[in-house]
Symmetry: C2
């Protein structure tokens, strides 16, 4: 188990004003945060951080790297639930005494900052804003999950791929706007995409080829290139507010849809 740890001050952390920690302000509170968390640890690529079913798992703050949480069915089928990027936090959705219903793995070399449950409770006591912010983070994650559910349940394979890659581009860039020809590193394999999208790796491969041939996007050697932002966003068919949510803005969503009865009528047209 190659795990490197090092010590650095919370006040000089590059995520000082992002994610959960941004709720901790003021020298006294930051000191408390620092006393409560453990030194950041380096995790190599493709390793398990914790397994589904394990207990007493702490919170993990993603300082750098990409990870994913997943759930296994008894026969080994795997569903990827979330992708975690720097600034995201894992473990908030778990109640103390429960076993984890899901596992966590790294997609590439990652650095995680650990906060034990005990310490987290202590932090909340001395800094109530943390509890409130944790709620907001959970609420945001929930809305991301809703979108994923719509993807899994109601989108075609091409739409699924477009949606997910678009989400990851936006989330990883955090508010840089999309431009044709932009290229960025994405530590995703086709089996990973498949398990996230409810498809097989083989079909993901065919869809990616199709998207490449139609000059929408290209994914090779873990490098994603956007060729046609307009086609891509049209394909994804996302509600208006989604992009802002990904970038961390909580500006208003302009989504305006009719009732589900109207939707049934629409499907009939």
């Amino acid at each position: 188990m190659t795990v490197v740890t090092w010590q650095a001050g919370c006040s000089s952390c590059h995520l000082r004003d992002f994610g959960l920690c941004q709720a901790v302000q003021g020298p006294q509170e930051i000191a408390c945060l620092q006393s409560v968390r453990q030194p950041a640890r380096f995790h190599p690529s493709g390793r398990t951080v914790f397994l589904q079913g394990s207990r007493g798992i702490p919170l993990y703050n993603v300082l750098s790297g990409w990870l994913f949480s997943y759930q296994l069915l008894p026969d080994g089928r795997r569903q990827i639930l979330q992708f975690l990027l720097p600034g995201d936090i894992a473990g908030l959705e778990c109640e103390d005494s429960m076993g984890m219903t899901h596992g966590l793995e790294t997609l590439c070399e990652s650095v995680l900052c650990t906060i034990p449950r005990e310490g987290f409770r202590h932090l909340i006591d001395s800094c109530p804003a943390v509890a409130e912010h944790a709620r907001k983070i959970l609420a945001r994650d929930m809305i991301l999950l809703f979108e994923h559910m719509a993807t899994l349940g109601r989108r075609t394979a091409r739409e699924r791929v477009a949606c997910l890659l678009l989400e990851l581009v936006v989330r990883s860039g955090r508010s840089t706007c999309l431009t044709n020809g932009m290229s960025l590193r994405m530590p995703l394999t086709q089996p990973i995409l498949a398990d996230a999208l409810g498809l097989t790796a083989i079909h993901v491969n065919r869809v990616l080829r199709e998207l490449r041939e139609q000059r929408v996007m290209e994914l090779a050697h873990k490098q994603l290139t956007i060729l046609d932002t307009e086609k891509l966003t049209r394909l994804a068919g996302l509600p208006d507010g989604m992009m802002d949510l990904w970038t961390g803005q909580s500006t208003a969503s302009g989504v305006s849809r009719t009732s589900s009865q109207a939707a049934v009528q629409m499907r009939r047209l």
Copy 2:
């Protein structure tokens, strides 16, 4: 719009010690809760509570009835996200200033207790346990969503139907145990099941027939009958802790799975 309202004291509410309100204890706090919420309202079956995209939506506490939240794609495809039963609460996943990314509809006659955002903030200030409990509720809902994602992404149509109906039986019964021949009312139509499970109503129909013919369960006239609990639970293939979560127990989960690499190997066998 036929909406009936009435007034009754929080202290005599049949959900006094369930759901979010159970976090409010002590006469002073209960008085605050009561001052903050609005009179309970009756909503007829099949009506919209709020539309996707609407803003300034309060919290809704489900006193009685069944509801579902859903998300529409631009072309009218619908994904049902959650079923809400008495004791559940809607709106926690929404941040104040944002438009709702999803809508809410009644499945049958329902009574909802409304708590405006403003009042909720006030309640949290005078009763910090509410914030903590809201976090727990969000966390529990998240884990339910994870299971739904695994269902949508990785289970077959028959497994999906079995999973969902099993979940709803357990959640609606709250800790009554399953027995062969038990029968209970479930205000679900096949189109609703379809939109929850990522299938078509026609296919849901065929699956239900199959389950009926195999004497696993029967769903007719909104009445569900369990014929073979063992076959049913086997079909659903749920992790061990799930049942407890549905019934509201937070006993420990005994799920113990191998790493995702092992899962890949399993799939190869």
